[in-house]
Amino acid sequence: MSAVGSIPRAARSRRPRLRAADLPRLLVLVLLAVLIAFPVYLTFVSGFFRTGSFVRSGLFPPLGDFTLDNFVAALTAIPLGQQYLTSIVVMVLQTLGQLITSALAAYALVFPKWRGRGIAYALVIATLAIPGESLVVPNYQLVSSMGLRDTVFGIIIPYLAFGYPIFLLRQAFASLPREIWEASRLDGCGDLRTLLLVVMPACRSQVTTAIMWSALFAWNGFFWPLLITDSPVNRTVQVGLSQLVSSESTAPAAIFAGTALVLLPTVILVIVSQRFLLSGMSRGVLR
């Protein structure tokens, strides 16, 4: 056993070195990376400089041209602060709602045996194939008739339950050994306590994946929040961005500055949790 264990260590101690044969590969990768990183670089750097200076200097502007004017212009063009708040409320409530409804639904679809469970599961999965954008007219009428137009709840309510997180959690719960559930129920734990204290902790990483998916989905929503809200202060940052683009179309630097502010949380999330995303994706997405 110890001999087997020592092989990777020996391999690791031999530092990998760049061989000539790897150079074309490296070249292609760096080229691709530069092209893909370019819009990110623009987002976070050019907002701090005047547009002209940015291009004239060959994309590396002198620090003397540093300015915060673009951020001021972006913040005066749209009520970004207020919209940030709206977006955060939408994200928190919608994510919480989806987590609760999907965990409950996934539990009901995996553990107890009941008549109609198969059909119920098929109906939930079928929602994944229905394009959400095709439902906006009836939903617009429905939510308006509930008196929720132009409110935060109007943005959230159609998305309190969603097929994809239910599917993710169902797959996770179904991969648990059934004995865990049986043991807990035999010990006298109710269904809710079993879900909360036994099932969810056992699927921690998939639950985290589902939460991250829901949070990004809520933060990134555009079409529905655009339709159901009118007043600028009730709109989310994503809708605010589209207003910014149309009002500042002649000043790209202000657009970049505003977008940078909107993107900061998700970019940090991706950089910090990149390792988790890599492993979480394989468990969450691929059955």
């Binding site: 790897d22 990768l29 691709l32 893909i36 819009p39 990110v40 623009l42 547009t51 291009v55 994309l59 409804t101 999907s102 409950l104 639904a105 009901a108 679809l109 553990f111 107890p112 009941w114 109906l123 939930v124 929602t127 194939a129 229905i130 394009p131 954008e133 095709s134 906006v136 009836p138 617009y140 009428q141 429905l142 998305y159 339950a161 059934r178 004995e179 049986e182 043991a183 269904d191 809710l192 990134n220 079409f223 809708v239 910014l244 683009v245 179309s249 790209p252 630097a253 657009i255 909107v262 993107l263 970019v267 991706v270 950089i271 990149q274 995303l277 890599l278 394989s282 997405v285 691929l286």
Partner: protein, 320 residues
């Protein structure tokens, strides 16, 4: 609390013999489990999906069969007339074509680049960790933020790309001013921000490949493109198929990019199905919910058809 211990076995005496696997420890253990609220826990999600998904689906079909008055309310039953009017318009078929083109172009660009990056990053190379972060970064962008950035990049005069091209002595490209270019730019924007997700999914799948198979293939002398084509791509095919289906579906629903980058123009050249739906229902003085609903139904049918075709003709070739 009368504590009626409802057990499954007495309820259904015929169940155990019919199921040949009876007698396992788990089966015996279930005898003692009281029926709880378990099945009812589906209710919150089920009710919400019924009200905000299946209900609107039915309402949408119904609306598509009615005429609409000036306030957008349904007036009288017109049968399939809304469909016939719309399908007779050449401009509608152009919208369908644009939608399919954007979906196909953006999906193939993002999956293609992501696959290339993942394959090239399979073995160690200096800066591999940084490169991985770079390829995942577009995942942080929403459709709206990617569109905002690309609208600044590809603006006609003040745009960074045309200015760089100008310095290089190349004339300005009408990125968003000519229908053909505008479709390409919209697809490029979509491909760019979808790339992050595609990369994460493929990189995660690459990690779970059985090392024995790869090593054996390498020992056999499989190398280069042949190795990629006959070993890697088949092994990655479940994830590739997943990306193909999901990114095509989201491409068929393209709206945000069109709304922010072109507003459907020039001359309606970048109007997609969802953008058309939006214009009928919300984009003009008098809402025409009837026609918007026809577009919605057509969208549902196209998504179903494309997904079915993909499962029918491509899924068969997916191994594992």
């Amino acid at each position: 609390m009368t504590q009626t211990t409802l057990t499954r076995r007495p309820d259904r005496p015929g169940e155990a013999p019919a199921d040949g696997r009876g007698g396992s420890p788990s089966r015996r253990a279930r005898n003692g489990i009281r029926a709880g609220i378990g099945p009812w826990m589906l209710l919150p999600a089920g009710a919400l999906l019924a009200v905000f998904l299946y209900g609107p689906l039915v309402t949408g079909v119904r609306l598509s069969l009615f005429g609409t008055d000036l306030f957008g309310d349904p007036t009288r039953f017109v049968g399939l007339q809304n469909y016939l009017t719309l399908l007779a318009q050449p401009s509608f078929w152009q919208v369908v074509g644009t939608t399919l083109l954007i979906a196909t172009l953006s999906m193939s660009m993002s999956v293609g680049v992501a696959l290339t990056a993942v394959i090239l990053l399979r073995k160690w190379i200096p800066g591999r960790g940084v490169l991985r972060v770079v390829f995942s970064l577009p995942f942080a962008y929403s459709a709206a933020s990617a569109s905002a950035i690309f609208s600044g990049m590809f603006a006609p005069a003040a745009g960074v790309v045309n200015q760089i091209l100008g310095h290089a002595g190349i004339g300005a490209v009408p990125w968003l001013q000519q229908p053909g270019w505008a479709i390409f730019t919209i697809a490029l924007t979509t491909a760019w921000y979808e790339l992050g997700f595609a990369f994460l999914v493929l990189a995660a799948a690459m990690r779970t490949l059985p090392p024995e198979v790869i090593e054996a293939a390498e020992l056999d002398g499989a190398s280069g493109l042949r190795f990629v084509r006959s070993i890697l791509v088949p092994l990655l095919s479940p994830s590739l198929f997943f990306l193909l289906v999901t990114q095509t579906i989201s491409g068929l629903q393209t709206f945000t990019q069109v709304r922010i980058l072109t507003g459907g123009g020039p001359a309606g050249g970048t109007t997609t199905l969802v953008y058309q739906l939006y214009m009928y229902a919300f984009g003009q003085g008098t809402p025409d919910y009837g026609r918007a609903s026809v577009v919605a139904v057509v969208l549902v049918l196209i998504v179903a058809l494309v997904t079915w075709l993909q499962f029918r003709f491509i899924n068969r070739r997916v191994t594992a």
